[in-house]
Symmetry: none
Subunit: 199 residues, 4 copies
Amino acid sequence: MSTSTRDRIITEAMRLFGEHGYRGTTIMQIEAAAGLTPGAGGLYRHFNSKDAVLAAGIERQLARLAALRDIRRLLTPLGDLRAELTLIARYSLTELDSESELLRLLASEARNRPQLLTVAVEQLVSSTFRDFAGWLTERTERPISEEEAHTIAAVALGSLFSSRLLRDVLGVSIEADDERLISTWVGMLSATLSQPRAE
Amino acid sequence: MSTSTRDRIITEAMRLFGEHGYRGTTIMQIEAAAGLTPGAGGLYRHFNSKDAVLAAGIERQLARLAALRDIRRLLTPLGDLRAELTLIARYSLTELDSESELLRLLASEARNRPQLLTVAVEQLVSSTFRDFAGWLTERTERPISEEEAHTIAAVALGSLFSSRLLRDVLGVSIEADDERLISTWVGMLSATLSQPRAE
Amino acid sequence: MSTSTRDRIITEAMRLFGEHGYRGTTIMQIEAAAGLTPGAGGLYRHFNSKDAVLAAGIERQLARLAALRDIRRLLTPLGDLRAELTLIARYSLTELDSESELLRLLASEARNRPQLLTVAVEQLVSSTFRDFAGWLTERTERPISEEEAHTIAAVALGSLFSSRLLRDVLGVSIEADDERLISTWVGMLSATLSQPRAE
Amino acid sequence: MSTSTRDRIITEAMRLFGEHGYRGTTIMQIEAAAGLTPGAGGLYRHFNSKDAVLAAGIERQLARLAALRDIRRLLTPLGDLRAELTLIARYSLTELDSESELLRLLASEARNRPQLLTVAVEQLVSSTFRDFAGWLTERTERPISEEEAHTIAAVALGSLFSSRLLRDVLGVSIEADDERLISTWVGMLSATLSQPRAE
DNA sequence: AATGAATGAGATTTCATTCAT
DNA sequence: TATGAATGAAATCTCATTCAT
């Protein structure tokens, strides 16, 4: 096998955690999925505890996330506002899709183990909002306050996040077509940004 | 005490389910919180199983939700688009707040027990989107297709949902001020609805 | 049954701990010996952990010990040195016999869990030496220093202790007859105490 | 390194057995202490089982003991009773000190594995008592019965044994000064041996 | 209606031992 | 000779559920 047992354990564990939650996944299931004898404790050669598997899984996801983020800088400078917004939306949805397991895991465990998951939430969510707010202040024609930028970011990115939160976390499917969603989103946002701020 | 033991069990169980998830909450905890001797099985006088407690809890939440929904009709006819949107936003956030326990519960268990929770999700989420899409088709000046209405609803309501999903489910606090959020949301939405659809 | 399950658990646990050591005794064995289904965890209704069973067992033994100690005062005033020594020796051996389980337990675990057993050792051993040294200073005709009294106590009581330590802890049987041992011990000790201290 | 891995394993294993007991010591700990990779099973190149390590360790201790015993004969003939007793006491304490690991091991495991440890106990304890009883019958001026000699040996050697058993096995420190202990012991014993047997 | 006690099933973790390299 | 990896067995502990009172 080309993958190490340790990697296989992380991969399968994250998949199972995403499917059944942390508590709902047993060490036996992880071992079985990773090709070990279930119940024999083979996992413990590679990790000290079930918690350590979770920590390693989150760490790996965050490392991937960091790699993805490096690409973000390439996306921005296109000149056309609508084109840039479209790219941002596509990128954000793609990023969320690639982190859907982490998202599900965070949703089911975030309140139980804050110490472990605070960092992950920060990386996955908060920083995205901050970055987008920053982009807004630079990009809009009329000057907007930092606070206004943050609120617009919350409303705008919220739409994209909820699309994935509803689907991946709550299991609700509202609409199917990403491209239609994005084009509507871009339309609404550019309408807002280009017209004078209505008191 | 004026509340029956049965009601106290449901109330405390839902609170604990919301905090620690279904699996993360033990019968002993529920009994203790409801004023019964923990571990004595007193809960089983009132419910046949832990699942039955969950079912009763969800049922009660849905009943409250249905009651709330009856008020919705009163809200609509104000004549002014922005005023109506403001009311809708306020109402939606209030409704989500009153269902935050259910929301957290859905997030932690939705994928494991579809039989019990599918209905709840449908009531809480899907119908809200449908209703808002319906309202849109009636209310906008220029005619819009059903599909367009649905997409706009997804984008618009998504902002409001994510505000609560992020806070209550993931534990992230993006912005603090509901009124500012609502006014920005209303501004973006009315800008979209009042201007001609940009192809 | 007239004894409570909790008491039965302590009794059987201490017996098993004495026989096989703390680590060598399993919860299943204790449960089975106490009349519970082995492996069902019924013990945990009465104790939080295996350690808690040990703690309760030691506490009970120490309580018994304290009760025994109250009798000690009755023994002393006989007027005749040899008669008093004989009583002291008999009493000490009896006390050690009634604490043989505790003794074995201390021997096998004392170095692993000092926090739990330090008190027990102090009660069972150190205080006995101190009390006997005190008795010596009062009782001997010629005046002896505190240090001398302590050393004589160490040598004298050591004989009695080792008789039980060897038998109960190491499993060695040196001699059989307690009365012969006591009379020799009394003879040696009175010979020492009555004759002038040879430098 | 000049020591073989096999020797290092025995040395470290006996140290750990003495500290934490046989059951309380894991193969991993022994391997780590012996400079092998813990958990890799390198120990099994040198021993067939954990039991075999214990057996080899005891064997080595007994061999050392036998070597020590050869010196004993040299000690006896000094002519002066007190001088000879002093030597015997010093020798005995030294011997017990050099076997403290074995002593602790016996205390924690003696009752579980008689097949392995019975011999060790016999060598370390019983034979010492026998030898001293034999020495007594030869050395005392007035003739004493074999039984009397055994009882005196039990009382006298018991003092020395308990000094070490209490300290090494139970972890109690009664008195500090070996020389004071020995001189008191010699005093008491010579008083007994030189005066006519009291009734 | 509630409690004390018990139980069956199962979860996490440990560990002596084996095996291919 | 030593190591990385794996396994069978067992140990501690948890918990939903039942039952007699």
